[in-house]
Amino acid sequence: MQALNLTFLQIDTIVFIRAIYIFLVILSALFGIILGFTIYKRRIEKNKKAWHQSLAGIISQAIVLTEEETINITDEIKKLLKKSIFRRYVIDELIHALKNLSGASTLNLVHLYEILELNIDSFKKLHSKRWHIKAKGIQELGIMNQKKYSREIFRLTNHPNELVRNEAQCSIISLYGFSGLRFLNVAAYPISKLQQIELLNKLKGLKPKNSEGFKKWLQSSNESVVIFSLKLATSVNLHNLYDNVVNCLQSNCLEIKLNALEYIKKIPGENSAGIIVSHYFFNNKIFRLAIIDALRDIGSENEISFLLSLLHDEDDEIKAAGAKSLSWLHPLGADFLQAHSFADQDPWKNIFLEIKNERAA
């Protein structure tokens, strides 16, 4: 029995020693990998510092180049350009420089990008399986105004990955302005609010050639396309879409209706106030409040009786909103409330105070 116990003890010890040995081997391997990676990273960083100096000369030369001059690419740079890591670095530097410049000098940078055939590197990224590389390639081609790749970029505006899709949409707009919006015809995925803001910013200062596309997009089955089109039509003051926008008030989507209301507020038609009031009773409280608020801007004395009827609503928020809009439309202004017998009662005392403060501000 004692001999058996000893054998077990010996086996345990052997297993234990082997386990420690394996653990140490794994630990050393891990340490080696981390050390190797750190050395590699440091070398790359050191290289980048050196590259930065030599590149700065070429890039700045290219920026101030006149039509008669040609760029001189040194043998050192030509040799370095054979390395893909250096080419990636040059693209990043060119894009960084481009963001700091405007005018004719940006064309020189694009020219340098093409001379060094870096557009091919960016284009190759579009075929990467990794989404972030794909998105980077799209961004590079867009910033560098590479219209010859627009067909591939356009295809990616409907990519299942949101970030790839967003980047492609932004690039197409950078390349073609309003004409690039044709991706809305086939947009199968929702356009996020953030992306809508991004696209609106990119289109700032541009004017559409016509409103034909808008008429189609306002009927899109993709709600985000309708919402974006409404925001865009409002921001560029597209007057001839009024009837199409009024139809949007019948949508089941609250956000579409609210954006349609914003358009009508900014670009009202002949009987806009009457039209929006006619939608009042078929909608929820949020939209009702928005309608009451819009009447402040586009209402007239014709809407006073409607607003007066709201003072008897069960909901205090509706009452207050009605009273506020009335204070702008009523011939007596904010004093109309005092003429009412209930002016001293709650909640009217507070509502009246709020209106007075708002008007004073």
Binding site: V64, E93, A97, K99, L101, G103, A104, S105
Partner: protein, 125 residues
């Protein structure tokens, strides 16, 4: 003119250097604010082009130092990505003579620099 350029981005710095040299100016380059302040004390400069965000001392500190310096009035052009109204106003209140926001055109900068050239020099260009 002798122009001091204070800018921490080397590509922008070299671009400005090349552009101004093409116009016949001599250029002193610095990549940080402290070095720029030293150059202002030690060298004879006719114009300063400075970024705002720089290591060790900001462009605003440079304007203050230049405007405090007795003797010849040295014009300062600010070249910065910071276009916020409060920053622009502060720069002008401190005595900046011009403010260019990035992204900028080197050709436009060249023309703006010409406005500060002495009248006699202008007559020959």
């Amino acid at each position: 003119m002798t122009i001091l350029v204070a800018e921490d981005e080397i590509i922008i710095l070299k671009t400005i250097e090349l552009r101004l040299k093409k116009d016949g100016h001599s250029v002193i380059l610095t990549q940080d604010g402290r070095e720029a302040l030293k150059q202002i004390e030690d060298s004879e400069v006719d114009l300063i082009i400075t970024d705002i965000m720089m290591p060790f001392a900001s462009g605003l500190e440079i304007i203050e130092a230049v405007k405090r310096k007795p003797g010849k009035k040295i014009p300062v052009i600010v070249l910065s990505a910071m276009g916020q109204e409060n920053v622009v106003l502060e720069a002008f209140q401190l005595g900046a003579d011009d403010y260019i926001t990035k992204p900028f055109s080197p050709n436009e900068l060249s023309l703006r620099v010409k406005r500060f050239a002495p009248v006699s020099a202008n007559a020959f260009t």
